[in-house]
Amino acid sequence: MSEAMDFKVIGTRPIRPDGVDKVTGRASFGADFSLPGMLEGAVLRSPHAHARIKSINTDKALAAPGVKAVVTGADFPQVAAGAIEGGEGGGDFADLAGNVIARGKVRYHGHAVAAVAAQSRAQALAALALIEVEYEPLPAVLSLDAALAESAPLIDEGLMTSGLPEPAAAPSNLASVIEMGNGDLEAGFAEAALIIERRYQTPTVHQGYIEPHACVGRWGQDDQAMLWCCTQGAFDVRSMTAKVLGQPVGSLKVIPSEIGGGFGGKTTVYLEPLALQLSKKSGRPVRMVMTREEVFRATGPASAATIDLRMGFSSDGKITAAEAIMAYEAGAFPGSPVGPGTMCVFAPYRIANFRIKGMDVLVNKPKAAAYRAPGAPQALFATESAMDEAAQKLGIDPIELRLRNAVEEGDSAIYGPKFGPIGLRACLEAAAAHPHYTKAKDAGVGRGVAVGFWFNVGLQSSAEVHINEDGTVTVIEGNPDIGGSRASMALMAAETLGVPYESVRVVVADTETAGFSNVTGGSRVTFATGMAVVEASKDIIAQCCSRAASLWSTDEDMVEWRDGAVHPRPGVNVEATPLSLKDLAGQAGRMGGPLLGKASLNARGAGPGFSVNLCDALVDQETGQVQVKAFTAIQDAGKAIHPSYVEGQLQGGAVQGIGWALNEEYVYSPDGIMENAGFLDYRIPVASDLPMIETQIIEVPNPGHPYGVRGVGETPIVAPLAAVANAVSASAGVRMTELPLSPPRVLEALDQA
């Protein structure tokens, strides 16, 4: 527990260990690896949003110049259904396999149908054009309403809704239903002086990482395989790829490259099984790199959602009842994050009477993947918009309204368990006192407030700490460093061991070198892998104490670790000078061998993260264009190990949220083809669109972590959607309930105001 802890290096802002590699271009990302004799692979993708594959003929492609292998769905084993575990949240192995390469049916435009490996990319692309596929086009289902309609075409003819009180009678596009509730809903609404009832909608959006998916696969004649790839979790790539290929996990070695952004989108596999199967057939290593267009069309975006919300308030602003009916698009296979969405939707508040229903709905779009706090941004866009409207109608300051309902330590979350120490109230109070909130608004500007929430998770992590012979330290762990985590690991090791930060190097190792670790995701790495690094460092300390005690011919409980050295305990009468890590490392060979500490754990005690965002926005009343004039992100980090990278998470999440709110969306043609599959027309924010993003880190230590860490990576994207929408609504003078707040939509709303 970190309260009143006196830190030496934690909380400082040193340069990250991998920094020089990354500013000089030396760091190796997914597409930066090659092997001798390597072939280039390419994927043939479905031109239809929904069609039956009647036949595939690859003869001409196989005979084309330079082509060494062609694979189709027929080259892959049937995979039995079974839940995918480990941080990605939802999903089934059979569906995963079906998404990697289509069998029998294509379920979305861009769905992989075949893949080719050739001596050059140009030859591979030319060969794709020679593959003959006969399709029987089927009507495409492109919206929640269409998918749930009575006579909707079935995307999966065998899909029976789960979670219903009685087994489903017939297949449908509704994959599952989740319900939660408590209290007496109608009595709660009867008490209400004000009821806000609206439908909120959010579009399909993409994580938009700058590095496209890429991998190199090599299959040996001994059935041992190697994969180099950019991923958030090498061990997950290993288990998923092994499953899709029907191979034992131990036959596959996955080397994670540096990763150029993921945000949840790189927690699953797309190319990896294809590259290995092509390698197996050709006997050559195969590299596969997606184009940006493929990234948009064929990897997992975040679910579009429709949320029907009803919230009742007493005249003094207490929530008397709340109801949410939430439908999320899963894409072409089940597994939207509607489950977490249902748990997040009212999580910041004390609500005695509520009912929540979540629906996971299939549509002919790419299978949704995790995107930063999966399910939460859509959910809290709805709730926080309603809270804003209620504050306005009740004449209560929006922060005050939230304070009157905010959950605190000891309260039961609406999804069940009791909260430990949490920072929602502290964030709200900081927001109310923040200069951004207290300063006067410029003319025409609207100001929005919103709360964000994410559970944060623990999961499995391993770490080793090696003490080199001169006392320098090497940390081995298995979580790809997506945003500076090597620096946090080094800081925690240095703090625990009492050595300088600079003497610690952190290695992100492959699946044959590092102990098992779940994905870099769920805001878990600094928390869980950090905990493993601290435990492994403590293992070193225990060994040092034991060795020193032996050397001093005393008992272990007569010595203690202090300031990076073993000392006799105060009052213990031993003739000894303290032994530093360096002293013990130098003599390790003569004292029981190398100093190697290790830890593996399934981390418990992840602390939920709350945030409050403030946004000032100006609407051009003639064009509907929105300018974000000021933005402040306040969040409880528990303890900020490296404050610069915590601020960076807050700022990056804020801007992704601003993009989601303002201009990002998948635009589909009536036949289900995405029309804006590129960075020109899928408009992520550019530098000139934004102001500086102010941050304020609140530190309510998490008792579940040795240094008080909570996860910080996901919560930042949750509040911006409503913060922006509330600001725009205020500036426009009309309530905006559908994202994105693109100029045509805002102008239309202005007309109706």
């Binding site: 064009t623 029309e675 550019v686 669109d689 100029p743 045509p744 102008l747």
Partner: protein, 295 residues
């Protein structure tokens, strides 16, 4: 990209000869200047030429000079260089702004005004500014040279008036006199890195009494190609740019606009924004007439 041959002639004569030979041989030839549109189109399979003729080594296409009272901008001069040319920045601030809106800093390091014009995108940012400023296209033909006003050069979506074997060499326009100003604005959802939903260029000249003597308003992204909205200009001539005159010009422009609905905006939205921008652009050009003074 589908295979092609690449050649970079280094003189006008060599260029003309190579074009003639290619035409004779029936080679599908594509001229390359900055390539920022062309390479994307070739990568996406929208163009598949057999021969790429890079004109950047032909000196005439790199010209950037004032010849008497004519500004000459070679067809392959990169945008970054053109916008930094002192006369462009001083006498054509609207055009300079339009050039500055072409893609990113990186794109401007390569993209040329000539390429932007030949590509003839309805949304190309410099085209309305060129039209408003009365630019002419100087075209290399098999026999010699010919010129064509820019508004006649663009003929459709991605279509221009070049005949087979012809190449755009340069763009030229008279240097404006006193009491004259231009402006260009476009509407995009983002501040940068976006395609115009509507683009409006204007060049106004006042008489001694401060009355608008001539007005050229050009519109982009509201028709198959950018065009001169003559009625919009006419609505301003003889006025001082009073609010009613701006309204009349905007109404005329909206009337002339024939936008389509696509992923970047509906026809109604485009027409409406067109009206808003015309008023804003004319007001800005008018201000430049009075504040920029004689050049």
């Amino acid at each position: 990209m589908q295979g092609f041959a690449y050649e970079a002639p280094s003189s006008l004569e060599a260029l003309r000869a190579r074009l003639a030979a290619a035409q004779g041989a029936g080679e599908l030839t594509q001229v390359l200047a900055g390539g920022t549109d062309l390479l994307v189109q070739m990568k996406q399979g929208q163009r598949a030429p057999g021969l790429i003729l890079d004109i950047k080594r032909v000196g005439e296409t790199q010209a950037l000079a004032v010849d008497g009272d004519t500004l000459v901008i070679g067809a392959s001069v990169p945008a970054a260089k053109a916008k930094a040319f002192p006369l462009v920045a001083e006498a054509f601030p609207g055009l300079a702004h339009a050039i500055d809106l072409i893609g990113s800093s990186q794109i401007q390091g390569r993209a040329s005004l000539g390429g932007n014009l030949c590509n003839a995108s309805p949304a190309g940012d410099t085209i309305p500014a060129l039209i408003a400023n009365g630019f002419e296209a100087q075209i290399l033909t098999a026999e010699g040279l010919r010129t064509l006003p820019v508004e006649a050069f663009v003929t459709g979506v991605g279509k221009n008036a070049l005949a087979a074997g012809e190449v755009l060499l340069a763009l030229q326009a008279p240097v404006p006199g006193p009491r004259s100003g231009d402006a260009y604005q476009r509407f995009t959802p983002r501040t940068e890195m976006d395609i115009a939903v509507v683009g409006v260029g204007a060049r106004l000249t006042l008489d001694d009494a401060g009355v608008i003597a001539s007005a050229r308003i050009a519109l982009g992204a509201v028709a198959p190609h950018a065009f001169l909205a003559e009625a919009a200009g006419a609505a301003l001539v003889g006025t001082r740019g009073e609010p009613e005159a701006l309204e009349a010009a905007a109404a005329a422009a909206m009337e002339a606009a024939k936008p389509i609905s696509d992923k970047r905006g509906s026809a109604d939205f485009r027409r409406r924004i067109c009206g808003v921008l015309v008023k804003r652009v004319v007001a800005q050009a008018l201000e430049r007439c009075t504040t920029e003074g004689a050049k």
